[in-house]
């Protein structure tokens, strides 16, 4: 059974604010370390990666962030132009049609159009070849948050159901085939071990199964506090704080901070158990980094933790 690192097309989604982009770039490092050439595609997001790698913000042009890791972050208009030119071939025709004032205005708000061309671009890169050789070993799609991400993935089916002819319908059918190919494509849901992100994750997994049929590989739980105290220590700590009687002096605040730590972790454990019980999917716990701001070094450590967890789980299968 093919594992995560055998995939050619990876989609990462999850609730807003859970760290999808961080997990996507960590995953890119994990692939790159195996000698794979990775394209990390963001979909018109406010770019966070350029800054992290000491480069200008990633935009419509593909840029190399680190050895074997490339990224692109096109606007729908850029993706549309690239896509239409590929199909129409002549830029004069493109100008006359797609840059027609009324058409351009309309296409901007046309439902599904931005999603279709963005997905189309990702699809094209998965296939891209130069001199008979694949350009990318894997395309990682840092997809939009749950609701919008779901809409993005539905577009190929919606269009292929709605239209029987035309280039758009043919493209949509090919994209659908890629999305539902379990040997090449895997979707991962990034989440936090908190109530709302977990609710969304459970709901999203069910909708993906019933409406898209894409393979859901891993649930990636981000920001898990590393455990410091074992059960005996936790009990003793609670007693100590109790007998000390105050959180307001030096020792009291030290004890209270310890209790705070293991209570937050216990809360995370409850939500992790709920994920496991409801979904029964491989669950990767990614540690919280006690750092001022995310750095390249931090990403490499996340990539390590992620790789170890995935390798252990896949070896057990």
């Amino acid at each position: 059974m093919p594992g995560l690192f055998d995939m050619r097309f990876i989609v990462n989604t999850g609730k807003g604010g859970v760290g999808k982009t961080t997990m996507s770039i960590a995953m890119a490092h994990a692939f790159a370390r195996r000698g794979k050439r990775v394209l990390l595609m963001q979909l018109n997001a406010p770019d966070k990666l350029g800054r992290l790698y000491g480069k200008p913000p990633v935009g419509g042009a593909i840029v190399e962030l680190a050895p074997n890791i490339w990224s692109v972050n096109p606007t729908p208009a850029e993706a549309m132009r690239e896509y239409a030119l590929m199909i129409l071939r002549f830029s004069m025709v493109y100008k006359a049609v797609f840059e027609n004032r009324l058409v351009a205005r309309f296409l901007r708000m046309m439902p599904g159009m931005p999603e279709l061309v963005m997905l189309g671009k990702a699809y094209y890169h998965e296939k891209e070849e130069v001199d008979g050789r694949r350009v990318w070993d894997v395309v990682i799609l840092d997809a939009p948050a749950t609701g919008h991400g779901m809409f993005l993935l539905q577009i190929p089916r919606v269009i292929s159901d709605a239209l029987s002819s035309g280039l758009m319908a043919e493209e949509a059918r090919r994209m659908l085939a890629l999305l539902t190919d379990r040997r090449r494509t895997m979707l991962n849901i990034v989440t936090l071990a908190e109530e709302m992100p977990v609710n969304e994750t459970i709901d999203l997994k069910r909708r993906l199964d019933s409406e898209i049929g894409i393979q859901v590989g891993y649930i990636i739980a981000n920001n898990i506090f590393p455990r410091l105290f074992d059960a005996t220590e936790e009990r003793a700590l609670t007693e100590l704080l109790d007998s000390h009687g105050t959180e307001d002096d030096d020792l009291g605040s030290l004890l209270a901070a310890g209790v705070f730590r293991f209570r937050r972790r216990a809360l995370q454990d409850l939500h992790l158990q709920r994920l496991d019980k409801e979904l029964g999917l491989p669950l990767v716990e990614v540690p919280f980094l006690f750092e001022a701001d995310l750095t390249r070094d931090g990403i490499v450590r996340l990539a390590d933790a992620f790789t170890r967890a995935v390798e252990t789980m896949e070896a057990r299968r």
Partner: protein, 401 residues
């Protein structure tokens, strides 16, 4: 500077915006709750509250209906007379349906729209439709005159200000000229005898190659039926914009001290200015506070162990265990202090960027979920700088909950 408390006492509309996962819905609920306890009649329009958030306010769940929240639990906690709280959920799924319902009364016309494939597939996701529907409802509840204050929670989009932008983009994209063009391109007008000019014909043929011709027929049909709805939109959209840029409305940016989220908050600030709306306050949730006493952090482990031994009573906990605990306590406190320093620095940067005229309110990170009545009350007191809950308050809340 207008404080958050003053905003709540004086404004008619407060819009909470921010990135996903920062606690926007909870903050909106607490702002509404506080205003109601201060004697105002408040409606909170929310997106998708956690069930436990709804439950902690004493309601089973929330839907399109406006529900009143029972505030009797707060009778002994400084509730002022005259206030009342209502809540409703913005149903994003049937957003477009409700707009169509409002503008199209003819059943035959409605049926034609329902059977249009375009409408069926895209009515829930037409760019801007959800925002349009939310602002439509906002106008309705303001017009009803039932509420002194409406608190609006906004959808967590990549671009959280789509909310302001989308209705006008929608109106612009579908102005009458564009619609006429597409209706003609779809073939309706030619049936009426008018022929497309040569240029348009070429454009339509080329686009048709791309999209398939049936796309155009369906689309033209869709727009033809929707023409009257869209004309109504423009007027509503203009009214919403002027309501939101009025001095009686203010925006509240909700954020967390995570550096990348804070950078987004600073960016929202710029965008709000471009839209000519007023930023009232900034709320930073989940702020980690440093240890009140940092002295012990530099102490060797055995000093801490001795102090622990002194309080551990009748030697129930042995020295080896206490030594391990002392070591972990130091690691933990050092890690959290590092984060607390980071949070403080991020908030300082935010204050500088936001400007001295905007109130920045902070809420600490708690050890437990805040989804209970006492949890909400704790946040309310921290957010509005009220005295912390004491044991007596907690007992009162426990009695009434």
């Amino acid at each position: 500077m207008t404080t958050l408390s003053e905003l709540i006492a004086t404004r008619r509309v407060l819009v909470c915006v921010g990135s996903g996962g920062v606690g926007k819905t909870t903050t909106s609920a607490i702002i509404g709750l506080h205003a109601a306890l201060r004697g105002r009649r408040v409606l909170v329009m929310t997106i998708d509250p956690a069930r436990r958030l709804a439950n902690s306010l004493g309601i089973e769940g929330l839907d399109h209906e406006i529900q009143q929240i029972d505030l009797s639990a707060y009778d002994d906690l400084g509730r002022e007379p005259g206030g009342a709280l209502w809540a409703t959920m913005l149903d994003m799924k049937s957003a477009f349906d409700s707009i169509v319902d409002r503008h199209i009364k003819d059943p035959a016309e409605r049926k034609a729209i329902d059977s249009n494939r375009f409408y069926r597939f895209f009515s829930t996701s037409l760019a801007g439709a959800q925002e349009m529907s939310a602002t439509d409802r906002l106008l309705d509840v303001i017009d009803s005159g039932q509420f002194d204050l409406v608190v609006l929670d906004t959808p967590p989009t990549t671009n959280a200000l789509d909310f302001l932008d989308a209705p006008s983009r929608f109106a612009e994209a579908l102005d009458s000229e564009t619609i006429r063009w597409f209706i003609e391109a779809g073939g309706r007008a030619t049936r009426g005898g008018k022929l497309l000019n040569v240029g348009t014909g070429m454009v339509v043929r080329t686009l048709g190659k791309f999209t398939g011709t049936e796309f155009f027929t369906e689309l033209g049909d869709f727009l033809y039926h929707l023409n009257s709805v869209l004309t109504g939109f423009n007027e509503r959209s203009r009214l919403t914009r002027s309501l939101l840029s009025d001095a009686s409305s203010a925006f509240v940016i909700v954020t967390s001290p995570d550096p990348s989220t804070a950078r987004e908050a600073a960016w929202f600030r710029k965008r709000l200015a471009e839209f000519n709306v007023r930023l009232g306050a900034l709320v930073v949730n989940r702020v980690r506070r440093p240890l009140a006493h940092e002295g012990l952090l530099a102490a060797p482990v055995n000093v801490i162990t001795d102090r622990l031994l002194a309080i551990s009573g009748a030697d129930l906990i042995g020295r080896p265990l206490l030594t391990r605990i002392a070591g972990h306590l130091l690691t933990n406190a050092t890690q959290f202090n590092e984060l607390a320093r980071r949070d403080a620095a991020t908030i300082d940067d935010l204050r500088r960027e936001i400007g001295a005229d905007v109130h920045v309110a902070t809420v600490p990170m708690y050890a437990a979920d805040i989804h209970s009545l006492s949890g909400l009350e704790r946040v309310r007191r921290d957010l509005f700088d009220l005295a912390r809950l004491d044991d007596e308050d907690l007992q009162r809340l426990a009695r009434t909950a």
